[in-house]
């Protein structure tokens, strides 16, 4: 059953969630990210630059602290983990879909306790794209996504001007309705058709598309191609394309000692960084930019699919918007398809000539 909630009821809903940790999009120093809120969420935004994966997989987090015996650390001691339920407001459907990839990765044979604990405690409220979204860099529909998709979503909200149209996708979504009580009212058919219109308009607003099956096929025969040198020539290795990617999950683990206290932290890392895979001996399996860019594309469109059965891209367009040298993932994929055809033709001609 669907409901609506008036935008003027958001403060009351926030009050009703007093036993929860409430997260939502906030602008900090000009950058939209997700933070723990101390007042009702502001959902009038496009999409965040920092993806909401940060709620479950923070950029830096303490894994545990070290026990001390005299001057030395002699063991690990986990701090008390939070246990309150979480609610995350204003997650775009592409980012929610990315959660499901991270779910697979962080439970792949071994359970990652930090990510999984938070995910299990969380209710994800997604927001159908409207207004500033989708924008010129969005392409979720090319990767089996939708601006109103429900993968990884517990409750899907659609902006109807003075109210949100609320669809409960999971039991957690239904529990939210129950908790909100009379703040939510049963939707009428007009609400439903208005929401449908918003959803259809969102799909129409997406201008960029590509055929991901064709891309995967093309990549398979391009591994040795000079193409990767061409597309990575302008790359400065800043790592933004990966750090801000909602599906990227690479991390580094480091010990930090400050004023006699020691802890182990993990921090987002990027395959675009030169020393990411470098061995202690100094040997580096991917010493060149072309190899690191190639690894990123192959990982997204082939490797994750082979291992986890999903594509490592949800079409959010952040890597396009954030790249300081305008490397565009769709251009790269389209170029790969064109290049693969070209090189195939050249090979065929070469064989004919021989």
């Amino acid at each position: 059953m669907s409901h609506t909630i008036g935008k003027d009821k958001m403060d009351a809903l926030f009050e009703a969630l007093s036993e929860h940790e409430v997260y939502g999009p906030v602008e900090v120093d000009g950058v939209w990210t997700y933070k723990k809120l101390d007042s009702a969420p502001d959902l009038e935004f496009g999409n965040s630059q920092v993806p909401p994966k940060s709620v479950f997989f923070p950029q830096t987090e303490t894994m545990f602290e070290f026990k001390r015996d005299g001057a030395r650390f002699v063991g690990a001691e986990e701090p008390q983990r939070a246990s309150k339920p979480l609610v995350v407001f204003g997650v775009r459907p592409c980012d929610a879909k990315a959660f499901t990839l991270l779910d697979k990765l962080f439970t792949w044979d071994y359970i990652d306790p930090y990510f999984v604990d938070r995910r299990e405690r969380a209710t994800t409220i997604a927001l159908t794209c409207s207004g500033q979204k989708p924008d010129e860099n969005c392409f979720c529909t090319s990767i089996e996504g939708s601006p109103s998709g429900t993968e990884g979503v517990d409750s899907l909200w659609t902006d109807l001007g003075d109210r949100y149209f609320v669809e409960s996708v999971t039991e957690k979504g239904e529990a939210l309705i129950e908790l909100g009580g009379n703040l939510f009212v049963e939707a009428v058919s007009d609400d439903e058709s208005s929401a449908e219109e918003v959803k259809e308009n969102a799909v129409k607003a997406i201008t960029r598309t590509f055929d991901r099956a064709e891309v995967a096929e093309s990549l398979r025969c391009l591994f040795e191609s000079k193409y990767w040198e061409d597309i990575s020539a302008s790359c400065i290795g800043c790592g933004m394309c990966t750090l801000l990617c909602p599906t990227c999950h690479c991390f580094d683990i480091n010990d930090v000692v400050k004023q006699g206290e020691g802890r182990r932290e993990r921090t987002w890392d990027s395959c675009q960084f030169e020393y990411y895979s470098s061995h202690a001996s100094g040997h580096n399996p991917r010493p060149a930019k072309r190899m690191r860019q190639r690894n990123r594309m192959y990982h997204k469109f082939l490797y994750i699919d082979n291992n986890l059965g999903v594509i490592g891209c949800v079409g959010c367009g952040r890597c396009i918007s954030a790249c300081p040298v305008n490397i565009d993932i769709i251009d790269v994929t389209e170029g790969a398809v064109a290049r693969a055809c070209m090189e195939k033709d050249a090979d065929a001609k070469g064989e004919e000539a021989a």
Partner: protein, 309 residues
């Protein structure tokens, strides 16, 4: 609440052996997990690896070189190359470290029953090989396998690891042991005259034609050349080899010359890792995660990987 896979258990250093000196010394650390209830969880299989913490400095990944046990005893051999290994090399007996693991796949020692076993280690690469030859040579298992040949080389006689253990191995009559130390190089290539007194040089141009004096089992040469001298037969046999990438390359070439196929040759890959459990990303070779799909691979599998080692 979920158990924390990243949290190491505390272990005490029981023994430290200097295996090789020089600028990048190698030490073997024998550690025992403190909490008895944690010890059984650490029963590893030959070929698996573990992650050692120097609390406050960080973690490093090592092949477990010791025999599988439920006493929580874990041995690793570490070369001093970086921050963590630098601190490990400063440890004393009785100091505390952290351990995670065992992780990764293992050598299929049960599938190899009835086969002749050839072990080839180059430098510190002997460390992961050790866990398998110890398994095969164990009194409970030795009868399960055919002939055993052990080929091992290091830079200098002083750099040969596990010296005490090799004395015992050499005294056994149920295996062939072959050792070598590296050529010294001058500006014009290898210096034959620089070979060690008790370590005669092999025929450099054609190692396979080297005349072997009776009882002579140690030579001056590189490990791949020693393989050509020893000429292990591929008949009903398995090779387990590990060493620096360049050594592996030439060892496998030498074996292929002798008629070995690449699915008879097993090795372990040692990529840079952080998590060790397929999450942090960096150890991938194409879609292969060395930590999860490996570290043990056949040479055939290695050849099929994308060329990005």
């Amino acid at each position: 609440m979920t158990d924390n896979i990243y949290k190491p258990v505390t272990a005490t250093v029981l023994d430290i052996q200097l295996e090789a000196g020089g600028g990048r010394p190698i030490r073997t650390f024998k550690m025992q997990i403190d909490d008895e209830s944690e010890r059984e969880d650490f029963l590893h299989k030959p070929g698996q690896f573990c992650i050692v913490s120097h609390f406050g400095t960080g973690e490093s990944v090592f092949a477990i070189s010791s025999f599988p046990n439920t006493d929580g005893i874990v041995e690793v051999s570490a070369m001093r190359v970086g921050n963590v290994t630098g601190k490990l090399h400063e440890l004393d007996v009785g100091d505390k470290v952290g351990l995670r693991g065992p992780y990764g796949n293992d050598f299929p020692v049960d599938d190899w029953k009835g086969k002749n076993m050839v072990f080839i280690g180059a430098g510190i690469g002997i460390s992961p090989v050790r866990s398998v030859y110890q398994w095969v040579l164990h009194p409970d298992h030795r009868k399960d396998y055919g002939d055993v040949t052990l080929i091992y080389g290091a830079r200098t006689p002083a750099d040969l690891a596990y010296k005490e253990e090799f004395k015992e191995i050499e005294a056994r009559d149920d295996l062939d042991l072959w050792l070598c130390i590296d050529w010294k190089f001058g500006p014009d290539g290898p210096i034959e005259a620089a070979s060690h007194e008790d370590w005669p040089a092999i025929n450099m141009k054609s190692p396979g034609d080297t005349e072997i004096p009776a009882g002579q089992n140690r030579f001056t040469c590189f490990v791949p050349q020693l393989v050509e001298v020893v000429k292990p037969s591929p008949e009903n046999s398995i090779v387990v080899t590990c060493g620096p990438p360049i050594a592996i390359k030439f060892i496998t070439q030498a074996l292929e010359k002798l008629g070995w196929s690449s699915d008879q040759i097993y090795t372990t890959l040692e990529n840079r890792m952080k998590c060790g459990i397929g999450k942090c990303g960096r150890c991938n070779i194409g879609d292969i995660y060395v930590c999860k799909h490996g570290p043990v691979f056949t040479y055939q599998e290695v050849k099929e990987m994308v060329p990005e080692f």
